[in-house]
Amino acid sequence: MEHILEVKDLQTSFLTSSGEVKAVRGVSFFVNKGESVGIVGESGSGKSVTSLSVMQLLVGTGKIIGGSVKLNGRELVGLSPKEMRSVRGKEVAMIFQDPMTSLNPLIPVGEQVGEMLWSHDKSLSKAQREERVIDLFRMVRIPEPETRLKSFPHEFSGGMRQRVMIAMALACKPDLLIADEPTTALDVSIQDQILKLMRSIQKEMGMSIMFITHDLGVVAELCSRVLVMYGGLIMEEANIYDVFENPLHPYTMGLIASIPDINQDKSKKLQPIIGSPPDMIHPPEGCPFAPRCPYTCRICLHQLPPVFSAGEGHKSRCWLLAEDAPSSGNPLKGRKGAKE
C-alpha cells in the first residue's frame, strides 16, 4: 500500500509577541491510499494545526519550522506559494468545522463550488462547470440541484451547507480529503447523515480521508486507524479495534473511560480526565501528559518518552512500555513493546 501522505517530524509554531507557541512538536504519521485515519485530541493538542500545516493554510504568525510533508511522494514543505496553490484543492482538499462561516455569504453556492473547478481547470466552459456542479450536488445528496445552484448559503440548513462544502472539496477529485471537525457544529442526527455520506463517497472514489475530531465515537464510525494527539505530539497510533480493545497509553485509556455509557450503572460517576492542557509556550520537558496521568513516574516528568512499537502498526509514546519499566501497578505490563 502506498502512502498518499507521509509526514515526518513535523514542527509548527506560532511566533507571537508573548513567545513561541509550539503547537506541533514533532509529529510523524502516514495515510495510505483509500484509508481513513482519525486524529483525536483535546482543544490545544495540535490536531488542527497539523492539518493546516499539511495544507499550508497557516495564517498570521504560524510557520512550519521543521519536518517534511510528502503528498504522493512530493515534498510540500518549501514549495513556492504558486506551486502550493495548484496542489490545494486538486490533490488535497479540506473541509472545515463551521459550514455557516466557511461559505462566502454574498456569492451563490453554485459559483463557489464552480470556482474550485475553475481554479484548477481553466479549459472548462461555464456550462460544463455548471453541469459538473450539478453532478456534485447530486453526489452529496442535495435535492433539486439545478435550482440550488443560485442559492445563497444562508438559505441552507447546517447539514446542507456542509454537503455543499463536501461537494466543493470533491470537485477536483483529490487524493486526500482532510476533514477538520466537520460534524462538531451539527446536530447528532445530521452528523450521522454526513458521516454516512462521507463513507459512501470514500468507497466510491477510493479517496483517503484524514478526519480530525475530539469525539472518539465519530472516529469509530468512520476510521480504520486512529492517532491520539496531546500537547503537540502523537501519544498513540493504532488501528480502530486496538484503540478501543487494547489501548496502550494512559491518555487513550482515560479518553475511552470518560465516554458516557448509556448502559452503565446510574450510580457510577462520569470519569473525566482531571486537569487542563499544558502551556504550549513553555511545554514541559517530559511527557506532556505527565501532570494529569495517574501512573506518572519520575522519569515521565523529566524525559520525553520515545515512541514504542507494540507490533502491527500499534505505537505508543509512554515510558510504561519501556524494557525496564516496573511491573507492579503498570497497566501496560505484559503488553510491552520495543523502542522505535
Binding site: 495564517v59 490545494r88 479540506m94 463551521d98 462561516t101 466557511s102 462566502n104 454574498l106 438559505e155
Partner: protein
C-alpha cells in the same frame, strides 16, 4: 426586497415630517422663539409673512399652509431681507454647493477606499502605520483648522490657490481637501478594520483551500464583504460633508448654500433657517435612500428580511 424598500420610504417620509414639525415648533412655539417673542421685525417683513401665512391663524393651520408650500418647493419669504425669498437663496447657492459636494464625495471615495485597503493588506508594516497616522490626524484635527491651515500655507504664503471664491477650478482644491479630510480618515479606518476582519473569516480560509490566488481572493471574496460596512456608513458621511460645508464655505468665501445658511444664522433670518434646514434634511434623506437601495442590491441577505 420590495417590502424592505417600501418600509424605508415610509420611514423617510415620517422622518421628514418630524423634522418639519420640529423645526416649525422650535420657531413658533418654544418661548423665546422668533415668532412669539418681541424680536425686532420690520413691518415689511411682517407684511410679507402675513401675506403668505396669515399669522393670525391658529398654529396648526399655519403649519399646514407651510407644509403645503414646502411640498410645492416654496419655502416662503426671507425674514430679514425684504423682497427676497428663501427659494432665491437656495437656488443661488445650489450650483456651488452641489459642485463642491459632489467632487468632495468622489474625492473622499477615491482616497479612502484604496488607503484602507493598502493599510489592511500591509497590516503592521510602515504603510499601515503611515496611513493610519494620517487618518488619525484627519479625524482629530477639526475641519476649520485644516481649512485655515491650508489657506494660510497654499494661498497666502505660496500663492498656488486663490484666496477666496471658486472662479477658477483651483478654487475648489483646498475646500475639497478640508471638507473631505474627516470623512477620508474615518472611511479609511473603517475600510481597513473591515477588510482585516473579513480576511480573518473562515470563508477566506476556504477560498485559500481552493488554491485560488491571493489577488483573486481579495478582489472577489474579501472586498465585496468588506465594503458593506463602508456603504452602510455612506449616509452619515454625506451628512457630515453637508454640515462641513457651512464652515468651509465661510472660510473660503464660496457663495454656496452653506454660506447662505451661516449668514441666515448670524442674521437671525428665521424663515431661511427653517427652509434651509428642511431642504438639507430632504436632500440628505434622499441620498441615504439611494445608498440604501445600493446596499440592498449588494447584500443578498437583506432581500429576505
Amino acid at each position: 426586497m420590495a417590502r424592505y424598500l417600501i418600509k424605508r420610504v415610509l420611514i423617510m417620509i415620517l422622518t421628514l415630517f418630524m423634522i418639519a414639525l420640529l423645526t416649525f415648533c422650535l420657531m413658533h412655539v418654544v418661548p423665546g422663539s422668533p415668532f412669539t417673542s418681541q424680536k425686532q421685525v420690520s413691518q415689511a417683513v411682517l407684511d410679507a409673512l402675513n401675506a403668505k401665512y396669515n399669522l393670525d391663524d391658529p398654529l396648526w393651520k399655519q403649519f399646514v399652509d407651510y407644509m403645503i408650500g414646502v411640498l410645492h418647493f416654496d419655502f416662503g419669504p426671507s425674514y430679514k431681507y425684504t423682497g427676497k425669498t428663501v427659494n432665491d437663496f437656495i437656488e443661488g447657492g445650489m450650483p456651488y454647493s452641489g459642485t463642491l459636494g459632489l467632487i468632495t464625495l468622489v474625492f473622499v471615495l477615491l482616497m479612502s477606499i484604496p488607503m484602507g485597503i493598502v493599510a489592511a493588506l500591509r497590516n503592521g508594516k510602515w504603510q499601515d502605520m503611515l496611513l493610519m497616522f494620517l487618518a488619525t490626524l484627519g479625524v482629530t484635527i477639526p475641519s476649520f483648522v485644516i481649512a485655515t491651515g491650508l489657506l494660510y500655507i497654499f494661498s497666502f504664503k505660496l500663492g498656488w490657490t486663490p484666496v477666496y471664491g471658486v472662479d477658477s477650478w483651483k478654487g475648489y482644491i483646498l475646500p475639497m481637501i478640508a471638507m473631505g479630510g474627516y470623512s477620508i480618515s474615518f472611511l479609511a479606518r473603517l475600510m481597513r478594520s473591515s477588510l482585516l476582519e473579513v480576511m480573518g473569516q473562515d470563508y477566506i480560509r476556504t477560498a485559500r483551500a481552493k488554491g485560488i490566488s491571493e489577488v483573486r481572493i481579495i478582489w472577489k471574496h474579501a472586498l465585496r464583504n468588506a465594503l458593506i460596512p463602508v456603504i452602510t456608513v455612506l449616509g452619515p458621511t454625506i451628512a457630515n460633508l453637508l454640515t462641513g460645508s457651512f464652515v468651509i464655505e465661510k472660510i473660503f468665501a464660496i457663495p454656496g448654500l452653506g454660506g447662505y445658511f451661516v449668514n441666515s444664522v448670524t442674521q437671525r433670518d428665521y424663515t431661511t433657517i427653517m427652509g434651509m434646514t428642511i431642504f438639507y434634511a430632504t436632500v440628505l434623506i434622499a441620498m441615504i435612500f439611494i445608498v440604501d437601495i445600493f446596499y440592498c442590491l449588494i447584500d443578498p441577505r437583506i432581500k429576505y428580511e
